[in-house]
């Protein structure tokens, strides 16, 4: 049968066999780690040198939902899903923890956790970071083609300007697109909002989709639309724009809207069936060395959660350290908000509304 979702009882964690098995499977997103010209991962290679643990790095996550869809059945049975650590976004982490699909981390094995940015130490879905540790974070904000829109845009409302009709993109990630609209509507997305607030934002989006203002609603492939100029302005993720500018000419600019943007984190966690938890913890610890974190940050262009990385980055490239999208200052951070956790019922309800726009009628 199509799964009944989480099992009645939560699955048991696998017995750790790290001592005998110096390997590690890491499921991550595409272009989410430093890479040299020959396609090797320098920081990972050094990790292997240091610890003797061979890492099988796999670009296995294309989307939180899809990845979950693929592994949830095995998780429910407590089986090894082929990944000893996977990097997933906050809200998905929340679901895994709720369903008991993640193993409790032994903080003793991760002394570097002390370098974790204080702001991220106590999220509502994982108090005290018992199960998850942030990998990279990012903003969702607005971006535009500077050649087509020399004046730039400032707010989400600017996306709805008639000049841009049919050339606007929004993300298919509910929390980012809806978060930005709700912020524009003056809602504190981290606080206590309710159905009405959400529905009001949905109505805004629906109107803009229906009247053809919004060209398309996409996941990561929104970048191609920007590049091919199918869209001229969009709701975007911060790191992508840096990459796009590097690849296709400096044509795009990213900003947090005046009403605020969202901030999210992708986090390591250890799936319930993994017998190599200790190895995973060693990996996490390694990437929490500020120098290592800085090296990764310099390549992936997302926000590193590691305190001290900025200082380390200055040594690599002083200009980089000034980039608000990688090392945001307090002011920038104050304008970025975390979308609050949703429980199962809310998740279902709001997703259904959001999906009904994505699927059209």
């Amino acid at each position: 049968a199509c799964s009944t979702g989480g099992a009645q009882g939560k699955p048991d964690a696998a017995v750790d066999d790290s001592a005998n098995d110096p390997t590690l499977n890491w499921a991550n997103w595409a272009a989410y780690i430093d890479e040299d010209d020959s396609g090797a991962y320098p920081t990972l290679e050094r990790f292997t040198e240091e610890t003797g643990i061979t890492v099988n790095y796999e670009v296995a996550v294309d989307d939180n939902n899809t990845y979950y869809g693929k592994v949830k059945d095995q998780l429910a049975l407590g089986q090894d899903i082929g990944a000893d650590t996977a990097v997933l976004t906050d809200w998905m982490i929340a679901r895994w923890i709720r369903f008991g699909y993640a193993q409790k981390l032994d903080h003793a094995n991760i002394p570097n956790l002390a370098n974790l940015s204080p702001a991220l130490r106590d999220p509502d879905f994982d108090a005290g970071r018992e199960y998850s540790v942030p990998w990279q974070g990012g903003f969702a904000g607005i971006c535009w083609n500077t050649e087509a829109i020399p004046g730039g845009i400032e707010s989400v409302d600017d996306l709805w300007s008639p000049d841009l009709k049919g050339r606007v993109g929004v993300l298919s990630e509910m929390r980012d697109t809806m978060g930005l609209i709700m912020l524009q509507n003056g809602i504190d997305i981290a606080g206590d909002w309710g159905d009405d607030d959400f529905t009001a934002a949905i109505d805004v989006l629906r109107t803009q989709v229906d009247n053809g203002q919004v060209r398309n609603i996409k996941g990561n492939s929104y970048l191609e639309d920007l590049k091919s100029e199918d869209t001229l302005a969009a709701i975007c993720w911060s790191g992508d724009i840096t990459v796009l500018n590097a690849e296709a000419g400096d044509k795009w600019k990213f900003a947090l809207p005046t009403a605020g943007g969202t901030i999210w984190n992708d986090n390591f966690l250890v799936p319930i069936g993994s017998p190599r938890k200790t190895n995973a913890e060693k990996l996490i610890n390694y990437y929490y060395e500020p120098e290592i974190a800085a090296e990764v940050a310099a390549w992936v262009n997302f926000i590193t959660p590691v305190v001290g990385a900025k200082e380390a980055a200055i040594a690599i490239d002083p200009e980089l350290a000034e980039n608000q999208l990688i090392f945001p200052n307090e002011e920038t951070l104050a304008n970025a908000h975390i979308f609050r956790s949703l429980d199962g019922a809310e998740e279902q309800k709001y997703q259904a509304q959001f999906q009904s726009i994505l699927l059209g009628a």
């Binding site: 049968a1 199509c2 799964s3 499921a27 595409a30 272009a31 890479e35 020959s38 396609g39 090797a40 991962y41 790095y57 796999e58 670009v59 296995a60 294309d62 989307d63 899809t66 693929k70 592994v71 059945d73 095995q74 429910a76 049975l77 089986q79 090894d80 899903i81 082929g82 990944a83 996941g219 990561n220 492939s221 970048l223 191609e224 590049k227 091919s228 990459v243 590097a246 690849e247 296709a248 000419g249």
Partner: protein
Amino acid sequence: MIPIAYTFVFSFNDSIKSNIAWRGFTLDKWLNVCSVEGGAVCEAFGNSIVIGVAATVIATTLGTMIAIALVRYRFRARGAISLLLFLPMATPEVVLGAGLAAQFLAVGVAKDMTTIVLAHTMFCISFVVVTVKARVASLDPALEEAGRDLYGSPSQVFWRVTFPLLLPGIVAAALLSFALSFDDFIITNFNSGSVSTFPKYVYISASRGIPAEANVIASAVFLFALVLVIVAQVSRAARAKRLAGLG
């Protein structure tokens, strides 16, 4: 044809991470296909080949057996069996993929290469049956009888007469199976667990712009097949010409 040319051209793009903007010509991607992302493209490609071969072998064997039985024997359940064979072809891939995925879950089977092979075999069988059936139907039973008449035991008759005569049909069915399996994304996506296949790799990386290496592999497969087919065609035509001249 245009998309193929596009794919081909962009396999020479000197891109960094994504492959959406033209950045100049390079042969690097062709020379170092397997290096990107720790060889993920090549691994996916290799998996696709292994899965394709395994599914093809199983589906071709089972399908050929059914085809022979369907043509050569009369039994009451014929109609039902024909329907059973038609159904998978009439079922949208999403349905097949989702249904099977749920089934594996219910039985508690972990998804890996095996489950992909099982899934691919399932939808290939019907195509094999249809293909081989036509060949069996056009095989004159008198030939097998001649084999028996000429002192061939049943197994000798099968291996020396029936099988060689069915071979073109079986080969065609196998090629079709392989092509279907190799290019399948939807069913694979539902039943692959964490195993990567080439179409899956393309789909996943589609979100970031496909690395030129994927284009390289696709183009290479295409060129290989094209050369193979053209060589076969030309030599066949040449032979036909030679024979015509000879008569």
